[in-house]
């Protein structure tokens, strides 16, 4: 589904070049939940941005469904790949109603049966039509994140990029959103690539996890190995110990 081969990315400032990602290789199968975990600055979000086309000038190869994304136009890419952001406030336009937010993707693609699709997407994320005339500031953080997810799935993409989708939420709301993501994954056969700093959240949703440090993948482990403590790299071990000690 997603194949990343020796992806590297540099950012140059006036004084120096900084390597953000170095030699990243990943394969994510169809319908898989794949996690990227690491601390701030480890480059985990940068991988998502390369996939989403927000970063240009990377080296290496990225393929989605067998097609290199370098020669897929953005509009075409948007059919298969959508993204959910960390901050549910910033991800929704503050002056658009929920109706406008959800009808935008349909209007861009020129879809006809908008009303039905909006209603279906809303029901999918556990909201109802009474939310349509509201503005983002009139609903709670969890509901905002649901709307953002509805917008991402309304065009039936096959891949969702999840950038810390619950870290700005309260724990009880986080549980609701994680349940929702898990259930959507099953119902829509979605492929997830999720980024988080929280090993517990990642391990809850993802079958395989890549541990990142300083722009590199230090280890890719399965959930079972993670839970059993079957990890080899000392950094993974450290993260795991912190996660276990918090429970």
């Amino acid at each position: 589904m997603i194949a990343i081969d020796s992806l590297s990315f540099d950012v140059s400032t006036f004084t120096r070049r900084k390597r953000i990602l170095s030699d990243i290789s990943l394969e994510i199968g169809k319908g898989e939940c794949f996690g990227l975990v690491g601390e701030s600055g480890s480059g985990k979000s940068s991988i998502l941005k390369c996939l989403a086309g927000q970063f240009q000038g990377w080296e290496g190869a990225i393929e989605i469904e067998g097609r290199s994304i370098a020669d897929t136009p953005p509009k075409k890419r948007s059919d298969t790949l959508q993204m959910v952001f960390q901050d549910p406030f910033g991800a929704l336009h503050p002056r658009h109603t929920i109706r406008k937010i959800l009808s935008e993707p349909l209007a861009i693609k020129g879809v006809a049966d908008r009303a039905e699709r909006i209603e279906k997407a809303l029901t999918d994320v556990g909201l109802d039509a009474s939310f349509l005339p509201r503005y983002p500031h009139q609903i709670s953080g969890g509901q905002r994140q649901r709307v953002a997810i509805a917008r991402a799935i309304i065009m039936d993409p096959s891949i969702l990029l999840l950038d810390e989708p619950t870290s700005a939420l309260d724990v009880s709301v986080q549980a609701e959103i994680l349940n929702l993501l898990a259930s959507l994954h099953q119902r829509h056969q979605l492929t997830y690539l999720m980024v988080s700093h929280d090993l517990g959240v990642i391990a809850h949703l993802c079958e395989r996890v890549a541990v990142m440090q300083a722009g590199q993948i230090v280890e890719i482990v399965s959930r079972d190995d993670l839970v059993e403590g079957n990890v080899t790299h000392p950094y993974t071990r450290e993260l795991l110990e912190h996660a276990f000690s918090r429970e």
């Binding site: 952001f85 935008e104 993707p105 861009i108 609903i139 969890g142 509901q143 917008r151």
Partner: protein
Amino acid sequence: MKNQQTLRHADFPLSPRAGVMPGKGAAFLKSFRKLCRNPLSASGVVIVAVLLILAMAAPWIATHDPLVQDLSRVLSAPSAAHWFGTDEYGRDIFSRIVYGSRVTLYIIFLVTIIVGPIGLLIGTVSGYFGGWVDSVFMRITDIFISFPSLVLALAFVAALGPGLEHAVIAIALTSWPPVARLARAETMTFRKSDYVVAAQLQGASAARILFHYIAIMCLPSLIVRLTMNMATVILTAAALGFLGLGAQPPLPEWGAMISTGRSYMLESWWLVAFPGAAIMLVSLAFNLLGDGLRDLLDPRTE
């Protein structure tokens, strides 16, 4: 177990935290009330409202025809018959000021209608695209901004010939650059935001993002800027009128009134004082209104 009743395993329940939705009209009324709570901006609102009423109801408010000359009553002092006195042709100054408000509003309206969209377009386009587009647009803006606006307006009017419409064009040409710069600065803060990225990921075109996502975010600060700008527009228009390059006689324009009244100023003070007071009051009112609107619309000043 007691706890099991309140902890349930559900697929996607809703937190009962939905807020109450106020209607659009109610929201407008609420902000209007908030605007009027500050005495300064409230006085701005009142003066601008009076100006609008004067302009709309000029024929009923004016006591005389502003153009009719009465040579038997030349330069008479303020009295019951002529509240603000008469000018060198015996025309009633009060009526001329009332009709002059139409000229003033006409200039303000036209300039704003021209400047707003031009500034918004140039600002958002160069802010959103950046790179060479930004460089080209901003250098052009710099050129316009580097001249004092009155001098530039004078040059334009001198080239186009005197007249009200030409004055409007000249003022508009000199007052779009600050608006464009503001729109550009605002755009640059929004263009990397998550909702713009989300729109890009949906395949939205640049034009769509500019119109539906960015322009709407620039509007509040732009409205504030344009309101403040109106004060400058009034002063520039009056200055052009004073120099004889704006509205042409016998049209009652406040700046032109001061200009002709200047020769009689020492013995007939009312010729200059009343139009001068009108210009001062109205430009002050627009400044106060702009300040009030900024407090209301711009969350950063809180």
